[in-house]
């Protein structure tokens, strides 16, 4: 039965159901329980924004608070995964990857290949991404391209509670290392989610809106900005098609190309910094594989090549807006082969 719940609740439910289903699933992270060693409430936090709250009561010591040592505990999750467990480690903000990236991209990502196909590392790293929280340059980054660049990693970034539950369950069941990116600005976003457990396969983009004039390819929070743009443009008689990638690696280029083949136009929207971004990656692949289908220039909408500013006045300008997306669509509609 589907009810309307938040993305936060969808994450909590996915973890709960998978922990109940599979005793090898364990969770670890900073304050994911909270109150460790303190005199007051146990499960005092349930994560910095309360996402894992309540799981301790159900699953006890299979949730572990950690010292503030991301290399050590994320590496431990990876090591445990290589030894038959299915750990879900929380990297509180993706911005902290700089203190533990080696364990992710040189260890987890490469074991299978370096060891000649003889290792499996079914670890999930849950992490908060994105701007909008007035959390400034070191707590607001997207950074999805850095992980997508790395062979051996899978990268997931859902846009709805429904996708979140299904993709997190798939991530836990998946036999490869998965970076599961949760957009903090979507935590309270509500949507219909079935109570029963279900998995959404990786590498299947979701056409969240059909249209014939232009394709918008995006993921995460930007799906909602694209939908805003679509609503505006519809009033102008422009019907855009929106492709929500859902997983950045593996990537469903077939759906992207199918859409561009239909519309002949492409706008890639990415909340990550512009250089070597997901937007650039999709654009380049289309320019290579579906050039003939393109009727006009590809447009990319990203933040500027700057760190994320603190001031709300600036941060609101930093994050790509629905209006910017609509403008980009209008630009490519005006463009055309000479």
């Amino acid at each position: 039965m589907a009810r309307t719940i938040s993305m936060k609740q969808a994450i909590n439910e996915a973890l709960d159901q998978e922990m109940a289903r599979d005793p090898r699933v364990i969770c670890m992270g900073e304050d994911i329980v909270g109150g460790a060693g303190a005199e007051g409430e146990k499960d005092a936090w349930g994560g910095v924004l309360g996402v894992t709250k309540g799981l301790y009561a159900k699953h006890g010591d299979r949730l572990m608070d950690t010292p503030l040592s991301e290399s050590a505990y994320i590496g431990a999750a990876i090591g445990a995964a290589a030894c038959g467990m299915r750990p879900v480690a929380e990297l509180m903000f993706i911005d902290f990857m700089g203190v533990c990236f080696d364990q992710i991209y040189n260890q987890a990502a490469k074991f299978r290949y370096m060891f000649g196909g003889k290792a499996e590392t079914p670890v999930v790293i849950r992490t908060m991404v994105g701007a909008g929280f007035r959390a400034a340059a070191q707590h607001s980054q997207m950074l999805t391209p850095l992980f997508t660049h790395i062979p051996g990693l899978k990268v997931v970034c859902p846009s709805t509670p429904y996708d979140t539950k299904g993709l997190l369950i798939q991530s836990i069941r998946d036999n490869d290392p998965v970076i599961f990116c949760e957009h903090k600005a979507l935590y309270d976003f509500q949507g219909e989610v079935p109570e029963a457990s279900y998995a959404i396969p990786f590498g299947e983009a979701n056409v969240v809106r059909e249209g014939k004039h232009c394709s918008i390819v995006t993921y995460g929070l930007m799906v909602h900005r694209a939908l805003e743009a679509a609503a505006t443009l519809a009033k102008e008689g422009v019907e855009v098609e929106i492709v929500d990638l859902r997983t950045l690696s593996p990537l469903d280029m077939d759906t992207v190309i199918e859409s561009v083949t239909k519309t002949g136009r492409l706008v890639c929207v990415d909340e990550a910094s512009p250089r070597c971004s997901i937007a650039a990656d999709i654009s380049a692949q289309v320019a290579m594989r579906a050039f003939g289908a393109l009727k006009a220039q590809i447009e990319m909408v990203t933040p500027p090549h700057t760190p994320v500013p603190f001031s709300p006045a600036l941060e609101d300008l930093y994050i790509p807006s629905g209006a910017q997306v609509a403008d980009a669509v209008r630009r490519t509609l005006k463009g055309g082969k000479h």
């Binding site: 900073e30 304050d31 909270g34 109150g35 460790a36 060693g37 303190a38 005199e39 007051g40 409430e41 005092a44 936090w45 910095v48 608070d65 950690t66 010292p67 503030l68 040592s69 290399s71 050590a72 911005d95 902290f96 700089g98 203190v99 929280f133 007035r134 959390a135 400034a136 340059a137 070191q138 707590h139 500027p304 090549h305 700057t306 760190p307 500013p309 603190f310 001031s311 709300p312 006045a313 600036l314 300008l317 930093y318």
Partner: protein, 328 residues
Amino acid sequence: MAGTNPFPLSRDELLKCYRTMGTIREFEDRLHIDFGRGDIPGFVHLYAGEEASATGIMSHLGDGDRIASTHRGHGHCISKGVDVVAMMKEIYGRKGGACNGKGGSMHIADVSKGMMGANGILGAGAPLACGAALAAKYRKKGEVAISFVGDGASNQGTFLESLNLAAVWNLPVLFVVENNGYAESTSRDYGTAVDSYVDRAAGFGLPGITVDGTDFFAVYEAAGEMIKRAREGGGPALLECKMVRFHGHFEGDAQTYRGAGELDSIRADQDCMKKFRAQVTAAGVITADEFKAIDREVLGVIENAVKEAKAAPLPTLADLTTDVYVTY
């Protein structure tokens, strides 16, 4: 006995230190209120309750000495001489803020004052302070650097590596572990696998001292000795200040992890400002009325800072893409 001053600081210096602590306290308590009202955006970590550490240490420093701070940086800023109006504007995200509104609470810096920045990444300040100390070593003016770190962050590899590097290079750097008993909601005793930071320092060949960080004079003396030693080429050291925080980890934290009555009791018995007043008035060096006058003065300073901050202009689109590079 009134008149004779048993403290290692003059009457004026004592007044100045009290004013600094009071400014921090009022700054933070005011933010607590204004955050509650919804006036202040983002993550804000308050230093109230910990003032004696920053103030006791920074009293030994000049502008040429550098500090690298933490996410809980307001107290370090104020005691290092960063302008409180500029700080308040920054926290309100305004132009004219210490970072023109681009940094916010977690990134306030003022390099002209030797304040190398609050830092949103745990442990990240330690290598930076080592670098400042290295620069000081080349400049040969006897400058030092201080690296602040929380009890929780003291378990970051970045911090631990820095202890070793500082010892290997014999850098004039002091590592200050501000042990307030918690890392977010997690107790120090859960997260840190050693009772005393003196032992941890010893594991890297560093001398260490633990002091009651709510006792200004204890901090002042221990830091003074270690800083003097560092200035003279004696190398790095570690100072653990055991202290308490009065507010939540960040604003919005309900603090249910604390024991019953814990917050009341630390506010009653471990208030570093109360202790300071008691010690100094008991010695008859400064009167309670003089302290009250400073309290009032400080109130005005912060009130004004908030007023100026709220009146300051917001940054605009033109500011969005400036200051990424010196040249590009």
